[in-house]
Symmetry: none
Subunit: 175 residues, 2 copies
């Protein structure tokens, strides 16, 4: 089995929110917002979504957040923040990661039992492994990188789909 890098492309132009009406796109938008903004309540998020022509109710939002496994966590300043499971890291590393993927540095991803093996272009393994480590702490216990191969050890209970979506290779609504 070889998994290729077809998917990644669609993450690009998420700007044109007006055309996005269905659930999947709404979830994408929510992810985007939560990744870039401190949101402390569903009502707050609701307003942000409506600003983006995305009309929903708090009920739907509650369901969406549950689907996305978004956690609500207290901040040091006394406020609260919703946190996405895999995007609670700085955007910087994420950007770096994305560009690596975009350039085809990741060649393939295969699973064996509970383990995943990522093949990269020669020399890229440690760099990408580092990114995976930092970005996917929730899903991944750890990585071991050679020169062009990374062994990814998922945490218990983390599905293959979780790993895939973590890598932005596929966006899955089912989890």
């Amino acid at each position: 089995m070889t998994i290729c890098k077809i998917y990644i492309t669609f993450a690009e132009n998420l700007n044109n929110y007006a055309f996005m009406k269905n659930k999947r796109n709404r979830l994408q938008i929510i992810s985007e917002i939560l990744r870039s903004t401190v949101v402390g309540s569903q009502d707050e998020l609701l307003k942000l979504l409506i600003d983006k022509q995305c009309d929903v109710t708090q009920a739907t939002l509650s369901r969406d957040l549950k689907l996305l496994k978004v956690a609500k966590t207290p901040l040091s300043n006394g406020a609260y923040k919703y946190i996405l499971p895999s995007y609670n890291k700085p955007l910087a590393s994420q950007g770096a990661y994305n560009s690596l993927v975009a350039h085809g540095a990741i060649l393939s991803l295969e699973f064996s039992g509970q383990l995943a093996v990522v093949k990269t272009k020669p020399g890229y393994a440690s760099a990408i492994a580092w990114d995976i480590d930092n970005k996917a702490n929730d899903q991944v216990l750890g990585t071991i990188a050679g020169d062009d191969t990374i062994l990814v050890i998922p945490r218990e209970g983390v599905s293959r789909e979780d790993i895939l979506s973590m890598l932005n290779i596929a966006f899955s609504e089912k989890n």
Copy 2:
């Protein structure tokens, strides 16, 4: 990054909950419970605390959880769970690896299936892996070390506790 290893020191007499009435001890008990139990609501936690002779109200609990920065996150099974922030994960140190752990070289140990993954400070992995290989031949089939991660493959029939006591690292459940 500093991992906090405070807990175990006064984890001794956590049995005697009756004598613990003040805030600090309550927070400690809450941490303990959340580390070892799936708790989905404050009322649930409230009952667990009352079971332990720790009488509080939901209001106090809400404040405590905010103080501890405990996040509420959805689980795959549709339920919810309170999660302590990662730096609350206990990492204890005694015995052979004391110095390494004390110096923070070993950052964490977690299991996934039959495998164990040890995280170390960058560069330490091979050194520590070599030690494990040599000292734990009975329990361990082999190790694979990256730069800051060691994959430990236990022999068949070797329990997690065996590995833990081998490493003299106190058991720490993934929250």
